[in-house]
């Protein structure tokens, strides 16, 4: 991933040889799916696939902010559950199509508060983020159950489900274009821009790389760290909107997504404990995860085998990245 070149500094790192292995992985997996199931090559095939992956991809992109800043966010799944079950369906939405326009901002508001609390607890109470967000995860799941009484209390109106469910049809060239895919492109771009094209993104890398050095260089470490948790929580809400739109609500809709998001980022080459990570590669990581499931499904492998494959890929990806870095370093 690091280049060794004598060229002048203008040459960008990302374009140089060592392609991030995750891209190779994704292409290989998609090809394999295509070979096994040619229908995948048609717009409905791959668009359905992208639609399916949109929520996880956006979520992972947000989770990457926290990972790059040197922390973990285990509360994203429960944030999805909370905002979706409680606010989206239970308290407000019950079948009123017009409510969507203010419910989504309200959900984002709650996400903001959750992210702020996570960030404040980690920054000022100095609770390690693993524990802080674990506590938050348990708490939010409890709150979701408490307020909803254990089951969703209402339906999501179609206007709400638009983002995760609706396909725009008769689009030239590709036939159908799911709204979720548009969301993926839009939010993916925003996340990419924030991480890789702004001063903020560079500061985020710096605090994950070496918080002490960042502090002494004048980086507002606490503020940047808190904002990373906020971004993560907000993307969790967005991912929740898409996921809820796709499948409708259930009380455990977000469970397990926290680890999947971290997994996607790690497969995308992000460094746990901070300092390194790429939004496009993380999105590719999410694609790879989903593609693995789809492929194993096609092959007809049993669920347990999928777990084993996922475990091996996870360890393998990190071991490979470590090996590559070490070789570049010595």
């Amino acid at each position: 991933m690091t280049e060794q070149t004598a060229a002048r500094p203008e040459v960008s790192r990302r374009r140089l040889p060592g392609v991030n292995p995750v891209y190779v992985l994704v292409v290989a997996l998609l090809l394999a799916i295509f070979i096994m199931n040619p229908a995948f090559g048609e717009p409905t095939g791959y668009m359905n696939f992208l639609k399916r992956v949109a929520a996880l991809a956006i979520l992972s992109g947000g989770a990457l902010y926290v990972i790059v800043s040197g922390g973990f966010d285990l509360s994203v799944g429960s944030t999805m559950t909370l905002t979706l079950t409680v606010i989206g369906s239970s308290m407000l939405a019950s079948n009123d199509p017009n409510s969507t326009y203010w419910i989504i901002p309200l959900m984002l508001g709650i996400g903001l508060v959750v992210g702020l609390i996570n960030g404040l607890v980690v920054s000022y109470l100095k609770v390690p983020s693993l524990i802080a967000t674990l506590g938050m995860m348990i708490t939010l799941n409890g709150v979701a159950f408490m307020w909803s009484g254990g089951a969703p209390r209402g339906y999501l109106p179609d206007t709400f489900r638009f983002f995760g469910r609706f396909n725009i049809s008769d689009v030239p060239l590709i036939g159908i274009l799911p709204v979720a895919v548009i969301c993926l492109v839009v939010f993916g771009t925003i996340l990419w821009w924030g991480m890789h094209r702004t001063n903020y993104g560079r500061m985020l890398h710096a605090i994950g790389d070496n918080p002490q050095a960042a502090r002494l260089a004048g980086v507002p470490v606490q503020r940047v760290r808190i904002s990373a948790f906020v971004v993560s929580a907000l993307t969790a809400v967005l991912a929740g909107v898409i996921l809820g739109g796709r499948g409708g609500v259930s009380v455990d809709i977000g469970s397990g997504y926290e680890l999947q998001a971290i997994t996607a980022a790690v497969i995308g080459g992000a460094q746990l404990l901070g300092g390194r990570g790429s939004v496009p590669a993380t999105i590719a990581g999410a694609l790879a995860l989903e593609a693995i499931f789809t492929l194993l499904n096609l092959i007809g492998l049993a669920q347990p085998v999928r777990l084993v494959v996922q475990g091996l890929i996870l360890i393998g990806a990190v071991a490979l990245a470590t090996y590559q870095r070490k070789r570049a370093g010595r």
Binding site: N48, A55, A151, N167, S250, Q303
Partner: protein, 376 residues
């Protein structure tokens, strides 16, 4: 990497070498018994299914007769899914109907066997219980704890999943998993010509009530000459359910979707809807969202049930026991009706939450529907 593979190999050897037969979920005798019970007539008042029972066997409970007010303790496996939420509401509302119950102590094991055993220990150590109701998280694991409670002289009522001891006063449960599977499979066989493709969607492997639902249906499809495209586990996740159905649709036609539980039935229906494909036969359960979807889209549906009114029955059994009255036992088998097209409308109530289980037997209570999250 090599080491990891080695680990897998070793683990494989260790587990594989000691391969033992999993519990038997394909029991023809039980299957036949349940098939019969589905259509049998039940004793008890016709409009109160939660008081009905199959057979005539009764248990004498005079030894437990006690003056009120009583403390009734309930060790719950968990309220971790909507069915249990509805059931638990049934139960608390039923408790309110019995002034003799002075204290109702509820401890929640949050879905953990280990914790539920500890909870029962806690109740025995300091709970002052006059009767103990147990909804076991799993059958074998909770048996010692239940035995311990029996040995302490408490009348124990078990419901939903059973235990492998007959020391409880009675075990309250509906007909059972085979029955559920039979109702759904019968409906599919009746509506899909031989040679049709059936997709079986499952929640989780290993849960006894769900395994029996599947094994019965699987055999029936084979007999009827239907092709089972696959048996897929959805983890009760709507999004995943949708993905699975989409993937199968890409590869061919589906004539029917059989489900072992209704939680994700709507997602399966939507997958067809979103692909612009005609909705085939899709079986579900008595959740409001499925019933309404079924009515609105007019596909050929059926909703076998696993009635949540058994939670009421458990309380009633405890009360009767403490009164010293006879209760049906050692098993109190409740009827397990399926909701069919003819009776669909009477179970739909749009004022109820989407995952309300219509077969709750709770409409006659005063606090209905608010206590269940509905509106008048």
């Amino acid at each position: 990497m090599k080491k990891t593979l080695l680990a897998v190999a070793i683990l494989g050897m260790l587990t594989g070498s000691a391969f033992a037969q999993a519990p038997n979920f394909d029991d023809p005798a039980e299957f036949a018994k349940q098939r019969e019970q589905l259509t049998a007539t039940f004793n008890g008042p016709a409009d109160q299914p939660y008081l009905q029972y199959a057979g005539d066997a009764m248990v004498d409970t005079t030894e437990f007769k006690k003056e009120g007010p009583w403390t009734v303790c309930f060790s719950n496996a968990g309220v971790n899914n909507p069915w249990r939420v509805v059931g638990y509401t049934n139960m608390t509302e039923e408790v309110k109907l019995h002034p003799e119950i002075g204290t109702f102590t509820h401890v929640d094991a949050e879905g953990s066997d280990d914790k539920q055993i500890a909870d029962i220990d806690d109740l025995l150590a300091g709970g002052n219980c006059d009767a103990l109701i147990v909804s076991p998280n799993s059958t074998a694991a909770l048996t010692p704890a239940v035995e311990k409670a029996c040995a302490a002289g408490l009348p124990v009522i078990v419901f939903d999943r059973g235990v492998t001891t007959d020391c409880p006063v009675t075990f309250v449960h509906p007909v059972g998993g085979y029955g559920f599977g039979i109702q759904a499979a019968d409906h599919i066989i009746a509506n899909v010509p031989a040679g049709g493709n059936v997709l079986m969607l499952r929640i989780l492997p290993g849960v006894d009530v769900l395994e029996t639902r599947a094994s019965g249906a699987r055999n029936m499809f084979a007999e009827a000459g239907l092709t089972v495209l696959g048996e897929e586990f959805t983890d009760g996740d709507n999004a995943k359910t949708k993905s699975i159905v989409e993937d199968y649709l890409q590869r061919g036609t589906i004539d029917a979707v059989w489900m072992d539980a209704g939680a994700t039935a709507v997602a399966a229906v939507e997958a067809f809807e979103d692909q612009g494909v005609d909705i085939p036969v899709v079986t579900g359960e008595d959740q409001q969202d499925y019933l309404q979807k079924w009515r609105d889209l007019g596909f050929k549906g059926i909703a076998p049930t696993y009635p949540s009114y058994q939670w009421r029955t458990a309380v009633i059994a405890a009360v009767n026991t403490l009164k010293g009255e006879q209760v049906p036992g050692p098993e109190w088998v409740l009827p397990q009706p399926a909701i069919t097209q003819d009776v669909l409308d009477q179970y739909i109530n749009e004022k109820m939450p989407p995952l309300h289980y219509a077969m709750c037997g709770c409409e006659d209570m005063e606090t209905y529907p608010e206590a269940w999250g509905g509106t008048k």
